[in-house]
Symmetry: C2
Subunit: 491 residues, 2 copies
């Protein structure tokens, strides 16, 4: 813990990479593109999972589990899906190893070649809709509201911890409906769930919108998304919810008999968020001293560091604080009283700062005399001397205040870095010097979107759901446009 | 729901296969050996996970996540491990598909061949110990108490839902310790956790023991296990905890500097239970009418079926029961008031019986007049008329009674089907006519174990931890033996 992190100003990318490792969140494995999520990182992910899972269940969804492997032929069944997905993936071709009869080494047994290759799921629409075929006969069987927590693999050549890895963890919801309207309602409802989760738990303000046709999920008629802005002015897609129409029902022949006895194709949605949210969380709130976590997602919310020379003093401090510790725990606040005698207080302070513990208390012999305790908050780095009689109320209030402050700070940053732009010169200038979200008119064509991307690396992040109608001219072609969209460079 | 299940007496194996599908727990996918766990089955698994995870955390463990893929060469590093594991497995050889330039079909891109094949993890000791190498330098870094919830793949030719599938879900704990004694203590502690979980949650009595050397986990010095007895007299291994000695530390060169500044090899354990427990749960308690679930693991604990002709009657029933429903829910009891107007009461009764709902209530217009409700318990199939004023207390008590009754019944079955046997004639006779656990003397050699297995299909299930010392003669060879062991045919 002696070395400082690269600062965000020096090199934002290096800052991030160093922080993820130093805060004990994750590390690269020796397997290309696959990460190890360490206990501290995983416990944050678990808290996200629990909160999201509760929200899914409160909206009527159930969890299930589908196979890791998908037969290669499934991907050919939905034409636009295969173009988007089936290429960069892990292919299982054999099911046995053996000892080479000459060298004795372990080799692939060529006699155990699969008739049809299996693909490690990059996403599960195909195998799930092939399964739903057997579950759906009548309108009585609908809707199906199912979610799956699992690992997926998309082969990546350039990886970054949490943001882009070959294997990642996620949830994928897959729902089946009797009507188009009900499916669209579901896709929009789950977007709302994601937005609420991002703002209330991650403390990340998000823009709700729809993707341009070019940026849609492979196989979707509409892709809803939430977009967040990172501290370096780049955008990050934090979750997507897709209205899939009847594409997968057609591909896998999934029909139902409606109330009038007529056969119809089933309507579909899918929606997902992944361990990428860990990247968004880190990049939104953390600082040059390390990780900053919103209290609702912090595995340890309060760390108490005793300052002592003799073990007798440690015992006096313990006696003083334990009733307080128990009282906080009863209120659901996770507290660590760090009595590890192998580490010095200064080491512990740096450790909890790096790991993003929201509130750190320090208490020594003089505090015992004065009935005080030092309260340090991680988000502002402020320290205050507080009467021990008030510390419980102070800590409880800080849980609320820090959560709110992180959100407010992120919202302020986004507001200050969202700029209306009305000319191509302005567009390129803002992108070059400031970054952030650019609100601009666009003629709605894939061609213009592509040219802008080639010239500037900025893409249409989304067409905001709340964008008002406004007559305007495309910032690049000058053609007419009826509303502004958000451009940005993105992760 | 019109057709009856095959009965256990007719064909136990068919009964099981039909029940798993009819109770909506799981089904075979089109991917060889891989199952789909349906929402009802998955919600039971989730309850198991939650209970176990709480127990792991209460004993100081944290969760983490390690890669799905393991480089082939890792398996060669621990000699006995590779012999046990690396053979029947899914091998990833390529990382890209492409459209064939002639046919247009999707084919494996031969240009995208991996330099070293990747194995889909059959268990994670190798990759985890390769990772621990970077985490452990000093005694201060020990112990490491980590668990992982994940999917694993072991290629199987003959599969059965939950009991033996190529892909299954499990947890695998992997701990690292400074001393041999501490590692053994950990392995024994986790066996206790498993035994407590099996008895208190699954309501399955288990025998705690150690495996014979021939049945040990590949790479272990000692394998602790819990063994359960199914209704058909076959045993099922319900969980294992391994003392791995320094084998993996040696294989992956994991050392630490002790307090005296001397370098030492690290000591290891691993322990796991899987979705196989679902099979144990089903086979221990269920009957010819369908699934029977212990209340602690039932997704729906109480189902209420209103009996009515007119919707007005339904509303009267709803008004009567909703305060009671709310009151039960506040007590943490999950209740479903089934007002589905598309299904008749008889259909609902059969459905809840098949799905294992512990308590079913029925209430109709006459009950409203008489202030009564019909209470049916799934375990005994008893029905009683109860005053509505007493029904809440009755239901609460049934949650406890049914849990206890299932355990007692299973324990009685095991006790009645555990037989001391003192001759080879008796041994083969009991196996042929009765099955169950056979408590017999064995000379302790792998040769005798193997011959007995070849002749009878029975194996040494375990050497019970509480087996008293007793002079005796091996049931097969007549050589001296110092304690009885448990034999059985097993799943």
């Amino acid at each position: 813990m002696s070395n400082k992190l690269t600062t965000r100003n020096e090199n934002y990318s290096n800052w991030y990479n160093e922080l993820v490792v130093r805060a004990d969140l994750a590390e690269h494995s020796e397997v290309r593109g696959c990460m190890v999520i360490k206990p501290h990182g995983y416990s944050v992910w678990e808290k996200m999972q629990r909160a999201l899972d509760d929200m899914f269940k409160a909206t009527g969804h159930q969890n299930a589990y589908f196979p890791l492997f998908i037969p290669k032929s499934y991907f050919s069944k939905e034409a636009s899906h295969v173009a988007g997905f089936a290429k960069e993936c892990a292919v299982v071709t054999h099911y046995r190893l053996k000892n080479d009869s000459e060298t004795g080494e372990i080799v692939v047994d060529e006699d155990a070649k699969l008739e049809e290759e299996l693909i490690v799921r990059p996403t599960s629409e195909t195998i799930i809709w092939n399964t739903y075929k057997g579950w759906i006969q009548s309108y009585r069987d609908l809707p199906i509201l199912v979610n799956q927590w699992c690992n997926v693999v998309r082969w990546e050549m350039r990886t970054r911890l949490f943001l882009r890895t070959s294997e990642f963890l996620w949830q994928e919801g897959h729902t089946a409906h009797a009507t188009r309207a009900e499916a669209i309602e579901e896709a929009e409802k789950m977007l709302e769930v994601y937005a609420t989760f991002a703002e209330e738990w991650l403390a990340i303000p998000v823009v709700k919108g729809v993707k341009s046709p070019a940026e849609r999920f492979a196989g979707a008629l509409e892709t809803y998304c939430i977009e967040a802005l990172m501290q370096d002015g780049k955008a990050l897609q934090a979750g997507t919810s897709h209205f899939l129409g009847q594409n997968f029902a057609k591909a896998f022949d999934v029909t139902f008999v409606n109330k009038e006895g007529k056969e119809e194709m089933v309507w579909a949605t899918s929606w997902g968020v992944s361990t990428r949210l860990m990247g968004a969380l880190i990049m939104t709130h953390s600082d040059d001293n390390g990780l900053v976590l919103p209290p609702k997602l912090a595995p340890i919310q309060v760390a108490i560091v005793p300052i002592y020379r003799q073990l007798e003093q440690l015992e006096q401090i313990r006696e003083k604080v334990m009733p307080f510790v128990e009282s906080l725990r009863k209120k659901g606040i996770s507290v660590k009283f760090d009595d590890d005698d192998n580490r010095k207080p200064g080491w512990k302070f740096a450790e909890y700062e790096m790991k993003g513990v929201p509130v750190r208390l320090a208490i020594g012999p003089r505090d015992l005399e004065n009935n005080t305790v030092e309260v340090a908050r991680r988000d502002t780095l402020e320290k205050n001397m507080v009467s021990f009689d008030d510390v419980e109320a102070t800590v409880e209030q800080l849980m609320i205040d820090i959560q709110q402050n992180l959100y407010d700070k992120a919202l302020k940053h986004r507001t200050e870095n969202t700029r209306e732009v009305n000319s191509w010169e302005e567009f390129t200038e803002v992108l070059k010097t400031k970054g952030g979200f650019i609100s601009a008119h666009w003629d709605g064509t894939a061609e213009t979107e592509e040219v802008i991307k080639q010239k500037t690396k900025a893409t249409v992040r989304c067409i905001p759901l709340d964008a008002p109608e406004e007559e305007g001219k495309c910032v690049f072609t000058g053609k007419p446009s009826s509303r502004r969209v958000l451009f940005a460079k993105a992760y």
